[in-house]
Amino acid sequence: MEFIDALVTSWPTLVKGLSVTLSLTALTLTFSVILGAIIVALKMSKVKAFSAFATAYLAIVRGVPLIALLFVIYFGIVSIVKVDAFTAAAIGLSVHSSAYVAEIFRSGISSVHNGQIEASRSLGMTRVATMSRVVAPQALRVVVPALVNQAIISLKDSAVASFITVDELFMSAQRLSAATFQPLTYYAIVSIYYLAIVGAMTYLSGRVERYFAKRG
């Protein structure tokens, strides 16, 4: 029962890594929602320069592998201002995720029937009020489950931060495996950690979906 031993003894190390992974994921989710909202607003703007900027942003972010984006941001930012690896990872993951979040927002907005917008506008509601009181609440039922899914992806993506020396969950497992020469054991253990958290988030996602389904 060596594996069980390893599972137990690695707990203190891995749980520290886990807390870094979770805060990285939380930051990514928060900032990618903010960035994604800005990008989708720019994309839908009538000002051509704004929508062109958003289009370019989406093309670049989606066209570059996450790890390349992370390296460019890490080494790029470090050369200008001194930031730690964690901050650089949070920025990189947020930028990467924001492109997908923007797409989630866009599909949420377009899921709302145009007649809803016309009804609101014909009552004299402004464009902004129409968006916040009519479109957004209805888009949420499409957006929220997709956002939970995106959070799951971000959690798994955050393992890439180990490449720029962030001491997160995967890095902790890497270190344990190097110290003990038991890579299979510790990579299996760390996979169990990821699985457990993804399992919890999937459960949450199901609950959220049912909640929105009930509200008709």
């Binding site: 029937h113 016309e118 609101s120 014909s122 009552l123 509601m125 209805q138």
Partner: protein, 263 residues
């Protein structure tokens, strides 16, 4: 249905010149790409008048109606409401729309809000009424359209006829001086048409200025002061219902009226 005790048409033009029409459309042209939908329409609707737009599908009836509150932009020509020229700037559109109600074929109630909330939202957001004031007014209007007991219901729990009556109440809550109806009964099961037409009839009796696109010829005959028959983007016949519906002058009008008489 309900007694007409609550006046909903406060906008009797006391201060304005009595000769000024409520709606004046001049030389209205609307093109979608290469297709001309409205080809130079002139139309006037006086305050307190009910104008009914009829005509074959594709005639431009709905487009004309939607041009009155700026949901569609005219390619050329102008719309004046109480002598104020319709402009497409956001702020002037909002100001105009606050007092021009619109009722849609597909109701377009807000599905995430209860019947009551559907009626209070714009009152609070646009008319800056207090929540209490808005709720009182919404409750009164719901009672008026015979749905006092449905205040807490979501649209998905209401029949089509009930939804459309809530939609009418929602528009009336803004104290409109003009109501636009875009085929308000076309999406309804036949047995539900009557309850919606009844509400509209009461509204007309109270002196609300209305422009109605409809296929309900009986409603046109009984309620309209002014029937406008559109075909191919132009007005082919207009006047009082007995003239347009019973003694049309043009061959185009006769063809259309014969077609619908066969139904």
């Amino acid at each position: 249905m309900t007694s007409a005790t609550t006046p909903v048409n406060p906008a009797t033009p006391t201060g304005s010149t009595p000769t000024l029409p409520r709606v004046s459309i001049q030389g209205a042209v609307k093109k979608f790409g290469d297709t001309t939908v409205l080809d130079g329409i002139d139309l006037q609707v006086k305050a307190g008048e009910v104008a009914v737009l009829i005509g074959p599908s594709g005639a431009g009836k709905s487009t004309l109606l939607r041009c009155i509150n700026g949901l569609e932009r005219l390619t050329a020509g102008s719309v004046d409401i109480d002598g104020v020229r319709l402009e497409y700037r956001e702020s002037s559109l909002n100001r105009m729309r606050e007092h021009v109600g619109m009722v849609f074929q597909s109701f377009n109630l807000f599905p995430h809000l209860t019947a009551l909330e559907n009626i209070t939202m714009a009152q609070i957001s646009v008319s800056k009424r207090s929540k209490v004031e808005a709720r009182d007014r919404a409750a009164t209007l719901l009672a008026r359209v015979g749905l006092a007991d449905k205040a807490g219901s979501y649209p998905s729990a209401l029949s089509g006829g009930q939804q459309q009556r809530v939609a009418i109440a929602r528009a009336l809550a803004m104290t409109p001086k003009l109501m636009l109806f875009d085929e308000p009964t076309s999406a309804l099961d036949p047995e539900l048409v009557g309850e919606v037409l009844q509400v509209m009839r009461e509204l007309a009796d109270e002196g609300m200025t209305m422009v109605v696109v409809t296929h309900e010829m009986r409603f046109a005959r009984q309620v309209a002061d002014h029937v406008v028959l559109l075909a191919d983007g132009g007005i082919v016949e207009e006047g009082p219902p007995e003239k347009v519906l019973d003694a049309p002058e043009s061959a185009r009008a006769r063809t259309f009226l014969n077609q619908i008489a066969d139904d």
